[in-house]
Structures are given as structure tokens and as C-alpha cells.
């Protein structure tokens, strides 16, 4: 059965590119339009991996990660940040929040799928 991925980003065009890339690689992808939507969808279904942006309305990526890590089902689920932010300070915050990796936009589909494959084991 295909692994399920939750892609959280407030940019519709970016989500479209993520969905295109990951579905082409055989993953099931569910979209969420911001951190709050992502959290709601993650509570309704346990995903194998969460890929989230940082700067979003209603709830940012770091808050989403902290909220997910507080849920028993998400303590071991890989969470990757996919964001325009590239400072060491933000990466350190991401790591502290519980992210497993940091990808700086724009992404290359092949590299993204390689990382996802690696993280999912």
C-alpha cells in the first residue's frame, strides 16, 4: 500500500508542485492549506510523513510540528520542513520543535522524492 503524506502549504501553486512530484513517485498525498488545516487533517488520519511550510496564516509550521509531537500517534512520524527560510536560527528552531529535516525552496522533485524515500525508510 502506498505511503501517505500530508503536504501543508498556504501556496496553492507550491502544493500543486509537491503533489505532482510525490504522486509521480507513487505516494498518496493529502493537501492542507495552513497549519491549522494540517493539524485537523492529521488528527483525522495518521499520515506516514508530514511535509510543512513555515510561514502560513492561522498556524505556522513550527507550531504545527510542536502540536503534532504532542499527539501520541505523531511522536515518531517523520516531519520535514519545506520553506523559503534558510537561516541557521530557524533550522535550529525547527530541530528543537521536532522536525526531522529542513528543505529550502525551491525544491527539485527528484531530490525531494529521494529525501522522502530515505526518511520513510
Amino acid at each position: 500500500m502506498a505511503k501517505s503524506i500530508l503536504a501543508v502549504d498556504d501556496s496553492g501553486s507550491l502544493r500543486q508542485m509537491v503533489v505532482f512530484s510525490l504522486r509521480a513517485a507513487g505516494y498518496q498525498v493529502t493537501e492542507a492549506v495552513d497549519g491549522q488545516d494540517g493539524l485537523d487533517k492529521a488528527k483525522a488520519q495518521v499520515f506516514d510523513l508530514v511535509l510543512t511550510d513555515q510561514n502560513m496564516p492561522r498556524m505556522d509550521g513550527l507550531t504545527l510540528i510542536r502540536s503534532l509531537r504532542a499527539i501520541a500517534n505523531y511522536q515518531r512520524v517523520p516531519i520535514l520542513m519545506l520553506t523559503t527560510e534558510s537561516s541557521d536560527d530557524m533550522k535550529a528552531k525547527g530541530r528543537a520543535a521536532g522536525a526531522n529535516g529542513w528543505l529550502v525552496k525551491p525544491f527539485d522533485p527528484q531530490r525531494l522524492t529521494e529525501v522522502v524515500k530515505k526518511v520513510l525508510g
Binding site: 512530484s21 523559503t84 529535516g101 529550502v104 525552496k105 525544491f107
Partner: protein, 182 residues
């Protein structure tokens, strides 16, 4: 300091502050717009090149397939050529997907510019409203105090505006970004 000097000093402070803060915000607007232009130019260049390469790859594949359909032998060379063309098309699609992400970055930069301009308009509006309190028959001490208040408010509002305009996009190229696993 004489009362006349005090008034001159406050007028100078206000004008300098207005100039410095206005200049700082407009420089940021200029930087963001230049960065947006770079990203758009690179994205269009990348997308144009990818589009042409995909078109050429697909046309070359079609030619080979037409030959095979018309009865030509599916030699190992032909099969290898089709595989190479497929790989090239896939590579160019990946490049196009990277290029198509320009909207996410440029919209963040444009959004930041719009918020800065709106904030600057509010700051200038507040200066104008406060300035309207200076009446022709105002005492010089009152004018000095008012100018001091306007300068202080201008500096505070401008600094506050800057603090809410965090720059999340530092990219100036459409090349794929770094990946770090923790």
C-alpha cells in the same frame, strides 16, 4: 538653548527622522522589487528552456515511434535512444517544476512590499494628522512639544513597522535549495 534654537532643533529632528525612516523603508521596497525581478527573470528563463527541451524531446520520441510503427526494426540503438529521450524529458520536467515555484517566493516578497507601503502610508498619515494640530497662533513652546511628540511617534511606528516585516525569502536564484536532515 534659546526658544528659537529649540524650535529649529525640533524641526530638524523631525525632517531628518522622516527622511531617514522613509529612505530606509523605500530602500527595502526597492531591494524586494529587484529581488522579485531577478526571481521572475530566472523562472521565465528556466521555464522557457524547459518547455523548448520538452517539446524537442517529445518530437524526437514521436519521430522514432513513427519509424517503429511504419515497420522499422526496434534495434537496441533505437530502444536506447527512446530511453535517453525519456530521461531527458523527465529531467526537464523536474527543472520546470523547480521554475514553477517562483510564485510562492515572489508573492511573499510582493506581500511584504504591500504591507510595508500600507504601513508607511499609516505612519505618514499620523504625521500629517499630528501636524494639523499646529495652529497659526500656537505658542512656540507648544509647537516645540508637538514636534517632539511627532518625531518620537514617527520613530516608534517606523521601528514597529520594520519589526513585523520579517524577511522570509532570501533567494535570488531559482536553483533548488539546500537539504539538511537532522
Amino acid at each position: 538653548m534659546t526658544r528659537k534654537n529649540l524650535l529649529g532643533s525640533q524641526v530638524k529632528r523631525l525632517l531628518t527622522s522622516l527622511s531617514d525612516h522613509g529612505n530606509q523603508h523605500l530602500t527595502e521596497v526597492e531591494t524586494d522589487l529587484v529581488q522579485t525581478t531577478y526571481l521572475l527573470s530566472e523562472a521565465i528563463e528556466k521555464l522557457g528552456a524547459s518547455f523548448m527541451a520538452i517539446h524537442e524531446g517529445v518530437a524526437a520520441q514521436k519521430e522514432l515511434i513513427d519509424l517503429l510503427v511504419s515497420g522499422a526494426a526496434a534495434t537496441p540503438e533505437a530502444q536506447s535512444r527512446i530511453k535517453t529521450l525519456q530521461d531527458e524529458v523527465a529531467q526537464n520536467i523536474n527543472s520546470a517544476v523547480t521554475g514553477l515555484q517562483f510564485q510562492d517566493m515572489t508573492s511573499q516578497l510582493i506581500g511584504r512590499t504591500v504591507r510595508r507601503i500600507a504601513g508607511l502610508r499609516e505612519v505618514l498619515g499620523a504625521v500629517g494628522s499630528s501636524g494639523a494640530e499646529v495652529l497659526p497662533d500656537s505658542e512656540q513652546e507648544e509647537v516645540v512639544a508637538l514636534l517632539s511628540e511627532i518625531s518620537k511617534a514617527l520613530e516608534e511606528q517606523s521601528t514597529k513597522l520594520e519589526s513585523v516585516l520579517w524577511k522570509a525569502v532570501s533567494q535570488t536564484h531559482m536553483e533548488s535549495g539546500d537539504i539538511e536532515l537532522f
